[in-house]
């Protein structure tokens, strides 16, 4: 009799010890894990290995009022195997997520259809102060103590809440770092535009202004190459005037703007056109320009010419566009002055 009692006490002690080991393991793991999927996996593994749970799965609330199975018996459920349930379509899910209440297997007939792998499950909400994050589904034997599972569900809620906060902080840190990078890039570009403005405001030589536009596009605004062409009003042909990159003999290059669809479109619409709209290179003299962007140098009434750049990154188009707009205004003024002198 005494031996039987000792055996029972030993079993109880072992059970409690396992539960403590399990909790300790989860606490230690949760310190270094910040994503909910990893936390769910650790949790599910512990439920399987250390507690008397024959089967378990963890579901988390997704966007658009859905819940998704994340982990089953310690294994991540991936791709098409991850089942998704519309919360509104299921009484069990509504009870768990909206009312934050525990659900017993016998309560709802839909249980067999939605959770066919579980014979006698209990469903426990994982809830924080503000919302339900998800729920645990546990297959237990009749004799096991429900209280301990409830305790584990509360514990899961805390761990998940911490993981979600970690995740949020990491996302915010990433956003701040990205924002800093963007601001420093924009600051650099604005500083370039400001200094170019100062440099050319008093200039009277049109060629010098166009040289600065080509040079600034490459050296400061990170275009790969830049070519400037001016429209000859008499011949309606484009004449090369400035180059940064290849095309050293640009002054001898003459291009018919109507023979190249990308330039023709830009000339007629007065807007930027680029390689991805045409998917073919343009021929500038002997040179084939790939991955180009064409900026019309637009005066008040006419297009004076074009800046054609080659790019490696899309994000420089806006700043070069601002530069071209500014130079266009200066050019307008210089051309009027030149015409007055010539006239």
């Amino acid at each position: 009799m005494q031996e039987a009692l000792l055996q029972e006490m030993l079993m109880t002690y072992k059970e409690i010890y396992n539960q403590l080991v399990s909790l300790k393991h989860i606490v230690y793991s949760s310190i270094i894990l910040s994503d909910p999927t990893s936390v769910a996996t650790i949790f599910s593994k512990q439920l399987k290995e250390k507690l008397n749970v024959t089967r378990n799965s963890i579901w988390l609330v997704e966007k658009k009022r859905k819940v998704k199975e994340i982990v089953c018996d310690g294994e991540i459920v991936e791709g098409k195997n991850a089942r998704i349930i519309d919360i509104e379509s299921s009484e069990i899910c509504k009870k768990l997520v909206k009312e934050q209440l525990m659900v017993w297997n016998s309560s709802f007939p839909e249980q067999k259809k939605l959770f066919p792998d579980f014979k006698q499950p209990i469903f426990l909400p994982i809830k924080t102060k503000v919302a339900t994050i998800g729920f645990l589904v546990l297959e237990r034997d009749e004799a096991s103590d429900t209280e301990i599972y409830q305790f584990f569900a509360h514990f899961a809620s805390m761990i998940f809440e911490i993981a979600l906060l970690h995740q949020k902080v990491e996302e915010q840190q990433k956003e701040v770092a990205e924002m800093n990078q963007i601001l420093s890039l924009q600051n650099e570009q604005l500083s370039t535009l400001y200094h170019v403005g100062l440099k050319i405001i008093g200039m009277s030589n049109i060629s010098q202004v166009l040289d600065i536009m080509a040079k600034t596009s490459v050296t400061d605004l990170k275009a790969k190459k830049a070519f400037v062409f001016i429209l000859d009003k008499k011949t309606n042909m484009l004449k090369g005037v400035s180059s940064e990159g290849d095309l050293e003999n640009i002054s001898s290059v003459v291009v018919d703007p109507y023979s190249l669809p990308a330039i023709k479109q830009s000339l007629e619409s007065g807007r930027i056109s680029n390689y991805s709209d045409y998917n073919s290179p343009i021929k500038l003299g002997e040179y084939l320009s790939q991955n180009y962007v064409i900026f019309p140098i637009r005066g008040k009434d006419i297009v004076h010419g074009f800046l054609i750049i080659e790019i490696e990154q899309e994000d420089i188009i806006d700043s070069i566009s601002i530069l071209v707009n500014y130079i266009s205004m200066i050019l307008d003024k210089l051309i009027i002055q030149k015409d007055q002198c010539d006239g």
Partner: protein, 123 residues
């Protein structure tokens, strides 16, 4: 708060707009050109309250997008704010004729954009 669709081929501008408006409680969805913009419109069942639209973009530019948007009854009532480097009056006129509600020239001040959005949302 509002759901805003940002259509711009520059990832820097998309992020700038997102980081300027998201902290004010707006939900942001980002698209990289007009074609992508229409895909996002179709994906989003609940619809958008405002669209912020660039003009110079590959595949489908902003003005083409705006024209198509206004011809599509399901989306024609969504107000559109233009955010572009094109500061010439001719471009502004075109955009307003096509139904744009406001026009901002880059580089933009985040507060001005936010004020513009709030003004449009208040009707």
């Amino acid at each position: 708060m509002s759901k805003i669709l940002v259509i711009d081929d520059s990832s820097t501008i998309r992020k700038m707009v997102q980081y300027s408006l998201q902290p004010k409680g707006h939900t942001m969805v980002l698209a990289e050109d007009g074609v992508d913009g229409f895909e996002k419109l179709e994906e989003e069942e609940e619809g958008f309250d405002v669209i912020i639209l660039d003009i110079n973009m590959p595949r489908m530019d902003g003005l083409e997008f705006l024209k198509k948007l206004k011809q599509t009854p399901a989306y024609s009532s969504i107000p559109v704010i233009i955010l572009t480097t094109e500061g010439q009056n001719a471009d502004k006129d075109k955009a307003f004729k096509l139904g744009a509600k406001a026009y901002f020239v880059k580089p933009f001040k985040p507060n001005e954009l936010l004020y513009g959005i709030e003004k449009i949302l208040k009707g």
